[in-house]
Symmetry: D4
Subunit: 172 residues, 8 copies
């Protein structure tokens, strides 16, 4: 079995629908990852040992998603020297602005690389950019990914030009 | 030496100016407390052991102040069954709305009793109300404190009536 | 009949769906409570007498939920020396940020222990932590509750590992 | 002595600097008022009796200023049928957005006529508009006041035209 | 025909669902009103003449509802000396916080009595409190209205006590 | 074929439902436009050349819609000297307040004429006002458009008067 | 005397310090403008006639600055078919977020081209971009202005490279 | 000369006071960097070529600071496959909430690793964590840095215990 190099963790299994976007992207790039539930508040000691052992297990990047008073990404970052990417999960009451602020506003010394609310896909792409620094094949794959996005936009622009906006909207 | 029953902890010594308001009030009510710096992010393991040992040491209430991505109160609450009171510290960039949301928006299972931004005095008074449940003398002191506040407002109202608002403003 | 030790009050019966979470948790811990509607604005005198008599009736903690210009928790706290826990109810227009600020931003002298928006369950757990200070059995129950939460997260993590995220999401 | 028809009340004497703007305007219009400190939180019973007696004492409008978890205007409105005007006082931590929301977001049944943050002057002018409904002299004075404001703007516009913006800024 | 004493105006007929709450309450109190659409932006001159003629037509209070960049209440207040009550209409994009701020933050000289977002009912009740200052019958009706609200809360509290919260929730 | 004078561009085809409102209005005024997808982030070089060539192609106004971290309008404005109108697209997580701020808060030197969230129709009307400065026929059409809006409001007001608010609401 | 083609208006002379940035930029580009105070609230009729006559007087763009419940830009836009540029003025209480929302959130039909808070300079540059559509000399001047900004950044970058960041900071 | 592996870029030299914190930290860890001004809005083509050449020049991480409508980090990320770290600069009008949202809310495909407002030091530490993945010496230095922070907190806690909070505050 290939060794996992990315950890995808989340505070609750209700975050899985969002966090699975990260897993799907890593699958697409053939990067091996572990995905699990680690709650800062319900399993604090499990979180401590998970964060402290991550590097030894071969992990190179940790992606941590959490909502509300979202302490998981920051706590994991304080217990490891690996780069930690935080994904603020949208909440029912405050739309995730609580998650965003409690992940990003870390004090000097303990950085968390925060991405947009619910954007676990971008967390995976950020992990890939980091891993690609020492993996030229991955670097090329990322470049191709960006070209594909580019081509897709151009294709949509061409279709919009061809069919007009009314037809485009109907076909959407 | 009297045993400490309240712990006043804070994420950084820059929070001390605010958190000392809690100490002053406990002093006034002759309640013994310990005041110290415990950083969730810079000393995570110290925080874990501090929280886990607090009850055994005789602590009955923990007052925790923190600013920004304020994880200390919630993490301590997850590592103890004592009542934890959170004080959101005002921050230079977002006025403490980040501290407030990252302290109060805890998930079901781990409550933090949050007070107003920078209002460490109220955190102490909340601790006193809790301690007073099993200390009738303290209960009486609290009732007297509330009466003194009441009297002070009435005194100010009387002065305002006597001197008029212009003189009152000048004498302030 | 067992004497009630917790009061669960709310500004309107439309808050009951949220506030009943507190009742359910107290039921689970076999703590006797009274649950009723007390409106600061529609029944101000009833509120005054309710708050002033609570302690004499044997209440030890008051849980008060309110939405919008939420004055109930703060007013009750000003009329009693019991610990008062405020639950900001989510509103249709401002998502409960109005409720949150009008409950938590109390002036020095009158603390309200505020929990997350709509999180009446945590209000109950906070009340239990307070009551447990003089009830070692309750303390043990709380510790077991925290262990059960911990076990449930680990169980979910184990399932996620076993079935993979795709199956987990489908079975959710 | 002329009977007071307007009550200007505030939660704390620290609000007096703002609330005195209302007094000054009423002085200017020769409307008799009472100005005093009534704290919803520190003197709840005084507030109840103040609000309940206001009408009998001949008051016709109540202007209430408060900051933070600002409960005074709404509570007074619930204890009287007089029109109550709320002045949200700017706060050090949240700039008065807390005061504003906790004054204005009243439930159906209990209105508070809320004005801009710190704008006690407008509270007085609103009281004057209300009193003028049954006082044609006052109505005329208000019309003249509006004309004076109008003339002052036109005078400033004329000066700006005459001297140019650079000189105008220097002379300001 | 009875002369109208209250004007209920709104910026768009899409505001009517909200503003009709004001009409219903005035109907209940047998107060005669005119209800119409006056757009500050689409019919600015109609707005100017409407506001300038309101007093002459016998109007005593103007209730104005508007959403988004809500200029109607403030502009009408600047063109009349009648008391103007503003109702911020909830918007699809910003939940009415835009409406609220653009109605309430008026400069010194031109007050708008602002009520809660979408709370046209409270605008009507505020108008009634104002009219009642010179109508003792109306004053009594308002007192009875407040008593009915009070009774209704007590009735709900009694039912909740009788049936328990589970049955109450099911019957709601 | 008539030369295009307005460019309607958007960051993603998911913005088309909103941005098509601009197209419809320009159609109504017989102004020729190009509508296409240009992503600042997915097709940065296409954006650079599109913006740099717009003027040479005969474009006179650029309408650019974008959501979230909305960089398209500002980047296009920095690469052209044409007037650029920005349309903040409502987002799922933050309601478009992110789009609004990242479009409007441009530094000195590079203006973006920003309109309300999702209001692509107003972007088109602003473009028409600009084009009308050198097209008196268009100026007249705009004046007629404003009169039609005015008439429509008056018609609705007449209907509301005729049928009453209850019937009006039912027929809506 | 050269005919004025831009109107710079503001709600209060206290806005002049900000709005004079627009005047300075127009001076620099030799564009003739009128600068005056027109208050929507204190001089509503003057505002109506000013807006209705602007086009006839030869104005081609109106720049309107206002703070708080900022109604001037939107009202002027509703009374004219000229392009209107709104400048939200920073306020003491809410930092200008009130000004921004009450200027930009205009309903369909009446656009206001809004720029960043306090950025009157960008309002002038937007006016220049609009005027340049029918003035090729101005177009060239704008292009040169953009080049100068570009050169200035490159010069700063060169200096930073040459002296290092420590010296650069000291010399600033 | 050692090859630069980190690029520190900023939209304006007024951001240098904040961004120099990143430089100082990289100096402390003996990591070679280039620090320069690259404005997305004033030098868009320079930005394009800078971003496209960064990797070829040997850069491994790009730290980009910007304020207001902060487009630099996102645009650079769209023109490179290197990890880009965004630093939202605090602004005078909106405290940096505009900078934060316009940096972090990137669409799927183009991640920006965002850190707290003004926290350029954490941007540097995040870059170091990334570089340390292929540099075990750096990894050790980071671990020592975290230990030093830990020790410093413990030292402060010890001093606070020794001298008491009053003396501590005086000596601060």
């Amino acid at each position: 079995m290939k060794k996992h190099v990315v950890a995808i963790i989340m505070g609750s299994d209700s975050d899985l629908a969002v966090m699975s976007d990260a897993a799907r992207l890593l699958d697409e790039f053939h990067i091996s990852y572990e995905i699990t539930v680690v709650s800062a508040h319900r399993t604090p000691l499990r979180m401590v040992s998970y964060a402290r052992n991550a590097e030894m297990k071969g992990m190179r990047v940790i992606i941590a998603g959490a909502g509300g008073a979202a302490h998981l990404p920051g706590m994991v970052a304080s217990l490891s020297t690996l780069p930690v990417i935080g994904v603020p999960i949208k909440t029912r009451t405050l739309d995730g602005i609580d998650s965003l602020l409690s992940i990003i506003q870390m004090p000097l010394g303990i950085p968390v690389a925060t991405v947009a609310i619910n954007n676990a896909g971008n967390a995976a792409l950020l992990a890939l950019r980091i891993l690609a620094l020492s993996d030229s094949q991955l670097q090329e794959k990322l470049a191709r990914y960006q070209k594909r996005m580019n081509a897709m936009v151009r294709k949509k622009a061409a279709k919009l030009k061809r069919v007009g906006y009314q037809s485009y909207l109907k076909s959407a």
